[in-house]
């Protein structure tokens, strides 16, 4: 049984996460209005950021450089700016995972011999990445992006690997479908 203390601690943690989420949402909304093109206008391109850019967003040397200038105003501006960019990256990454998954589902429909085990594995990877993005979003709101460079780079590499894997799967499904229609 969870005691009153445990329940109270749980409620406090939940409240903190909720606050961090709301704060993160507010900064990402600020940055959304800051930049014109909507996701719809971006079309269906599946281009992710390069690892160099991701490192740059979560860069500790940039943070050190700003700290060295000893200006609290500038440090606040830096924190705000980088948090907004990092949150935008998480949202864009999450949307990209969704696009990759949609494409995979379209390709799966064309596939003649679906393997349930493979599909389950892909779905679990998708769910894991989505969860990862959610956690990263809250953590950026709580801690700021500079402490999360390793986690962000891991997510980026993981997405690229999944993207490549799914692209191969899609190609194989298309080839199979073409062969099927030729043999008819």
């Amino acid at each position: 049984m969870i005691g009153v203390g445990g329940a109270l601690a749980g409620a406090i943690v939940l409240l903190l996460v909720l606050l961090a989420w709301m704060r993160a949402e507010a900064s990402s909304k600020d940055s959304r209005s800051d930049w014109g093109a909507s996701d719809q206008e971006q079309g269906e391109s599946v281009e992710s950021c390069s690892p160099e850019i991701v490192s740059q967003i979560f860069s500790a040397p940039d943070s050190k450089f700003i700290s060295g200038l000893e200006s609290p105003g500038l440090e606040n501006l830096f924190r705000r700016e980088r948090t907004a960019v990092a949150l935008h990256w998480v949202q864009e990454t999450s949307a990209l995972i969704g696009k990759i998954m949609r494409r995979h589902l379209e390709a799966s429909r064309l596939s003649a011999d679906l393997e349930i085990a493979v599909e389950v594995r892909i779905f679990l990877q998708y769910a894991r990445l989505k969860l990862y993005c959610g956690i990263l979003f809250v953590l950026i709101g709580l801690l700021g992006p500079q402490r999360l460079a390793g986690t962000a780079l891991y997510a980026e590499r993981f997405i690229q690997r999944i993207g490549e894997g799914l692209a191969e799967f899609q190609l194989a499904a298309q080839l199979q479908e073409r062969e099927g229609s030729e043999s008819l």
Binding site: S31, D34, W35, A37, Q42, S45, E47, S48, C49, S50, E52, I53, Q56, I57, S59, P61, D62, F65, I66, L69, S71, L74, L77, F78, E81, R82, A84, V85, H88, W89, E92
Partner: protein
Amino acid sequence: MSAMVKPLPVQEAYEDLLQRSLSRIPCDLGRLLYLASTRDYNTGNYHHDGLADRFSVKVARSALEIAHRQAFYKVAALSLEDLVRDLAAYLESSRENPEEFLRTWQRLEPYRIAIPMEVNPTVARLFASNVRLALAVLRLRQESSHLDR
């Protein structure tokens, strides 16, 4: 991003652009702004008279577009410290009044025009955010040098 495959005439036009025009500009930000200035704001098409005469309008357009994207990604990937240095070099080469330059850039944000079409939106945001920060750093340095005097 830098490893774009260019057809041969475009490659030649690109190298010509690098040698004749871009090599004379002393900083990355200056090269980026120069390339952005060859783009028509209404149509988004690039044009360069000399390059179009030597090659063709179409080839010149492609070479300029590739050069613009490459220059943009190069500046977007600069560390903040390097960007501050680059922006200071650009400010110096402009020979404008530094105070007025910084104030105008902070208000009008003309660097936003330097963003090519169809770039990754996060990279575009990072670029604009970094220039804002670099401007704030130069402004801070300027203010402290005024106080020192």
